[in-house]
């Protein structure tokens, strides 16, 4: 557990005069990042996120207050030892350009005195674990894409198996598709490793996606709200937080609501190559096409089929919700479907049935009633 207690950081003015008039970057922050969980610090640029993070590994010294890890005041520890026990990942990875991927990853274990062979063996394991081809181990950072470099950055931070990880906008500099991949793999990795993570981002969507709890900071370094992502979206404490979490927060909050057991409608299906007559015989304007394993492929408009169903005729707009997914995914599947019937697949990817938006809404309403009761009961 990382614990901030009344931590304040005041930077000296440009004049250097420490007359107390310098700018407050972090203001009396008290916060706990629980062991094995991801705590996200989110807020607009300049609100003190990086400063907060760097005070943990003492790259920045707090003006006042204490920071402890598992009850030990970090100020009392040897600084090099403290840092080697904390993984640190930053926006542009900060890899050593003159060292191969493998040697980048072995850095901290080697500093800690692990012998080369052991360090390398473990590094190879990590390189694969973060989703890199082992052949990349011998490359230099300049030979990797931004996303790959970021993976190496994560592997390097994990190399000495530190209990604590600090991550400063690690996925901000890569394109959205790669970012989503990195986020998903990060969550998978964390579910296996269970590190105590302090994660900084300016992106509220990333914050609610990754965080077990989210701390929203406002400019001036004041903690505005600390809550679970669902609570944050459902119940922002003030206008600042409400504005920051964004407009469609009601809809986004549904991401955190697991889909209840709903009765799905059996959907008649056709296969690729089905003849026009058979498609029209189904009797609905849109017909669902599945593959041989009954995995949904897309909707086809019966009137558009001249001879048989081909891939080019398939409508690709509809999303597929998983039975174990969220209410948001379920509603989205219904809303994005050209037939108005949302496609629901099992965990094995096979079609289970369809559902209409009007059938999802009652589940959402029922959930609202139960969470309100819960809130009043508290």
């Amino acid at each position: 557990m990382i614990r901030f207690e009344g931590v304040t950081k005041r930077y000296a003015d440009a004049s250097g005069a420490d007359d107390g008039a310098g700018s407050l970057a972090v203001d009396d922050l008290t916060l706990e990042a629980p062991t094995g969980k991801i705590t996200v610090l989110v807020g607009p640029s300049g609100c003190g996120k990086t400063t907060t993070l760097r005070m943990v590994n003492r790259m920045i010294t707090p003006t006042s207050g204490t920071i402890s890890i598992d009850g030990k005041d970090t100020a009392s520890l040897d600084v090099a030892e403290l840092r080697r026990g904390i993984g640190y990942v930053i926006q542009h990875a900060g890899l050593f350009p003159h060292r191969t991927v493998l040697d980048n990853v072995t850095t901290v274990p080697r500093l800690l005195g692990t012998d080369k062979r052991t360090a390398r063996a473990r590094a190879m394991e990590l390189i694969e674990r973060v989703g890199l081809d082992p052949a990349m181990a011998r490359r230099y950072p300049a030979q990797l894409s931004g996303g790959q470099q970021q993976r190496v950055g994560v592997a390097r931070a994990l190399a000495a198996d530190p209990p604590v990880m600090l991550m400063d906008e690690p996925f901000s500099a890569v394109d959205p598709v790669v970012r989503e991949q990195l986020q998903n793999e990060f969550l998978r990795l964390q579910s296996e490793l269970g590190k105590t993570i302090l994660f900084v981002t300016h992106d509220i969507d990333e914050a609610v996606k990754l965080g077990d709890q989210v701390a929203v900071l406002r400019v001036g370094g004041v903690l505005a709200q600390l809550d679970s992502p669902a609570k944050l979206l459902a119940d922002p404490v003030d206008d600042f937080v409400a504005g920051f979490v964004g407009r469609d927060r009601g809809y986004r909050a549904l991401s955190f609501a697991a889909a209840p057991e709903l009765s799905l409608t059996d959907e008649p299906t056709v296969r690729l190559g089905a003849r026009a007559d058979d498609v029209r015989a189904v009797g609905t304007p849109w017909v669902l096409c599945v593959d041989d394993d009954r995995e949904p492929l897309g909707w086809v408009r019966a009137a558009a089929v001249e001879t048989e169903v081909t891939r080019t005729l398939l409508h690709r707009g509809g999303t597929v919700a998983s039975v174990s997914g969220s209410l948001r995914a379920l509603l989205d599947a219904a809303l994005s479907s050209p037939s108005g019937r949302g496609v629901v697949a099992g965990d094995d990817g096979r079609l289970v049935g369809t559902i209409r938006a009007a059938e999802v809404i009652p589940a959402i309403e029922a959930r609202r009633d139960s969470t309100t009761e819960e809130a009043t009961a508290r």
Binding site: N57, M59, V79, A80, E81, L82, R83, R84, I86, Y88, I90, Q91, H92, A93, G94, L95, F96, P97, H98, R99, T107, V108, L111, R139, Y140, A142, Q143, G153, R156, L166
Partner: protein, 213 residues
Amino acid sequence: MTWALDHLGDILARAAQHAWLAGLPLVLGLVIAVPLGWLAARQPRLRAVLLTTTGLLYTIPSLALFILLPPLLGTKILDSINVIIAMTVYTVALLTRTVADGLSSVDGSTRQAAVAMGYGAFARFRAVDLPLAVPVIAAGLRVAAVSNVSIVSVASLIGISQLGYFLTDGYARSYPTEVWVGIVACLLLALVFDLVIQVASRVLTPWTRAVAA
């Protein structure tokens, strides 16, 4: 050409002497400039002082330095140690800024990562900043090498044996061939230095050639 062949032994001996007088200071100068450059890169105030001082040193005319050093150091005027020291001063003057620039050119996020991984100031310098500064330092060293080879030839005016002798002697005897031999030999020597530095730099920086495989 025949003159050069006839005097080949003499030319080679003087070339070796020239290489020693220009080359040793290059090594000594680098050894001194690296810690100075490190200090300059760490301390903005020190940087101003160090770079101004070393910059001024370079403006002292070489002949003056060759003549001023013996009384200062208590050496004999014909002692080649004077030239070695003078050339070392010039090398330090040229390289301190280069080293400082090279060390501070390391990317901010790379440096931050090194600090966060628990590298102390010296360990970081040795393991990260210095290796990354090699291409910049090598470039500075190439300039210093050429500069040294050319300045050393002036030492023939105070009677120290090296390739510059052919320039002064050829001029005194109005024998252009000899002057040309001196010039070409200096040029070749500078090229050899340049080559050695480039090869060393390449060997030390395999990563600079590893671009987008």
